[in-house]
Amino acid sequence: MADAAPPSESLSEDGGKRRDFLVLAAGAMGGMATVAVVWPLIETMNPSADVLALASTEVDLSAIEEGQTIVVKWRGRPVFVRHRTADEIAAAQAASLDELSDPQPDSERAPQAQWLIVEGVCTHLGCVPLGSKLGDPRGEFGGWFCPCHGSHYDTSGRIRKGPAPANLPVPTYEFLDDTLVRIG
């Protein structure tokens, strides 16, 4: 480029520097413009306002008998609401933290011990674990069992065995009164 072009001959040392500056400045502007275009393009793929707006669900607990689990839909995915039996609560509370691969005390996961509310999504690759219906396999720890790649969860929804790395997450929820809970 430099060889045949007359302008480069007529340019002083200064002119060269000025050109370097222009190239840099133009390059930087181009880079910023690219980011400014790519950013919104990527952002469009994030959850839209209406999807975010669907973010809470109310559940009436009065009809759930002891030992029963219901599955409600929250943000398109299942949430397990289990009315735990005394045995289940005892088993969950008895587990010592160093047996757990994702240590968390039961009291933190279920502040109201009879009600365990967890997302029904296996933390491995997202299948819905079995164990909510009567007759479902519940795995070796009496909670849930994920059939996809064999993860076992206990009566507190904590991962005890299998490829899943973490406990079933506890969604944010609040008790509106004794039998009404709002998830999300």
Partner: protein, 428 residues
């Protein structure tokens, strides 16, 4: 030889402005191809045909399909029952995807056997690997479109793999989904990409062929073309040979399409997606099974995902892992065996992938996964160092005319070439 400049005035007018005639001649008619190509060299053009068939049937399906979580499933049933010939288009498209993969896998293994990935064809090889990755993405997203149980749960399991990425994993899945689970926004974006990617594949195929026509085809002997005597014109020899292969492939594709259109699919995909219930047994389509087996062989979430990705990405560096300077396995007594062991290993992985990971399948999956990587990282580099290749012929035409290893097919091509050579001068 065909004259590159057309005689017809209209054709001349066009040729002057856009040289389509000389271009076609250069790349499809007089194009010099090695005279000894065997039937394994059919699979490239067959893959090209399958891509076109997928696009044609796909566009027709798209005219009747509804990309909506509430209507997609019913619209596919509408295609099957109400749309004129809709069943044929859908079965061709679904079984066509399988045929496409079968053909591309054979094409790829052909390259592994004859050393087609070696210099000067590394970029050609890379383009092939990129096409494979894009095909996998297209097929995966296409499979989600009918919104059956398997569609939904395959989408869930596969997209969740990105959540294994440390720190940003969760943000990335939410972004992929456009929500908090696989749902309507996910379906629509998959549809958009499923429509787009095949055309991206088309563009990459173009680069693939550009590289191919620049350095020309490899051949069963794996030696370079040295003179005109080593080649024959693409037309009519290989056009005819490709047409014959196309007939055989279409016979197989139509056999599936008409007589067993659902054997490769999963019955449960005729049940509408239910986000609250996972089917008892999740399996991907057959062409993903070996990779699924690799994913499950590693008892760690991130590790499994990394191994699965690595199993394909490793193909990119194969040209440097193979240290042998001889291309064709025909002259490589040890590699030849390693190749077949590797084929068996891949089939075994597929078999493991189709079964629940319990009992013996666990260790078989781990051993076959281990061997898969060992083949590339240990076996192939070492063979290249220690193997003593047998004598490689001087040139293609000498091997073809004198006989020797592989004389049968080569001589046949040579004889046909000699007999028909004068005739080709009369054409055009």
């Amino acid at each position: 030889m065909t004259t590159p400049v057309p005689q017809n005035r209209v054709a001349q007018w066009i040729e002057y402005r856009l040289p389509v005639f000389s271009w076609t001649n250069k790349h499809l008619i007089d194009y010099p191809a090695p005279r000894n190509l065997n039937y394994w060299w059919n699979f490239g053009s067959l893959a090209g045909f399958m891509l076109v068939l997928q696009i044609v049937t796909g566009v027709v399906l798209a005219m009747h399909y509804t990309p909506h979580a509430d209507h997609a499933f019913d619209s596919v049933e509408h295609i099957m029952r109400d749309v004129e010939w809709g069943w044929l288009m859908r079965y061709l498209h679904a079984n066509g995807a399988s045929m496409f993969f079968a053909v591309v896998y054979i094409h790829l293994f052909r390259g592994l056997y004859y050393g087609s990935y070696k210099s000067p064809r590394e970029i050609l090889w890379w383009m092939g690997v990129i096409i494979l990755l894009l095909m996998m993405a297209s097929a995966f997203m296409g499979y989600v479109l009918p919104w059956g149980q398997m569609s939904f749960w395959a989408a869930t399991v596969i997209t969740n793999m990105t959540s294994a990425i440390p720190w940003i994993g969760e943000t990335v899945v939410t972004w992929l989904w456009g929500g908090f689970s696989v749902d309507h926004p996910t379906l629509v974006r998959f549809y958009a990409l499923h429509y787009l990617l095949p055309f991206v594949i088309f563009a990459v195929v173009f680069i693939h062929l550009w590289a191919l026509h620049h350095r020309k085809s490899n051949n069963p002997l794996g030696i370079d073309i040295k003179s005109d005597k080593d080649t024959i014109p693409f037309h009519p020899y290989y056009t005819v040979k490709d047409m014959f292969g196309l007939g055989v492939m279409m016979f197989i594709l139509l056999l599936f399409t008409f007589y067993m259109p659902n054997v490769l699919g999963e019955v449960i995909n005729y049940e509408k997606a239910n986000p609250l219930q996972t089917p008892a047994h999740i399996v991907p389509e057959w062409y993903f099974l070996p990779f699924y087996a690799i994913l499950r062989a590693i008892p760690d979430k991130l590790g499994g995902v990394v191994a699965m990705a690595a199993s394909i990405l490793i193909l990119f560096i194969l040209p440097w892992l193979d240290t042998s300077r001889v291309r064709s396995a025909r002259f490589r007594p040890i590699y030849k065996w390693a190749f077949w062991v590797f084929v068996v290993d891949c089939i075994a992985l597929g078999w493991v992938g189709a079964n629940t990971p319990e009992g013996n399948f666990i260790w078989i999956g781990q051993v076959t996964t281990g061997y898969y990587f060992a083949h590339f990282l240990i076996v192939v580099p070492l063979i290249g160092k220690f193997e003593r290749p047998t004598k490689v012929p001087e040139s293609i035409h000498q091997a073809v005319l004198k006989g020797g290893e592989g004389a049968g097919e080569a001589a046949a091509a040579g004889a046909a070439g000699a007999a028909a050579a004068p005739a080709s001068g009369e054409q055009s």
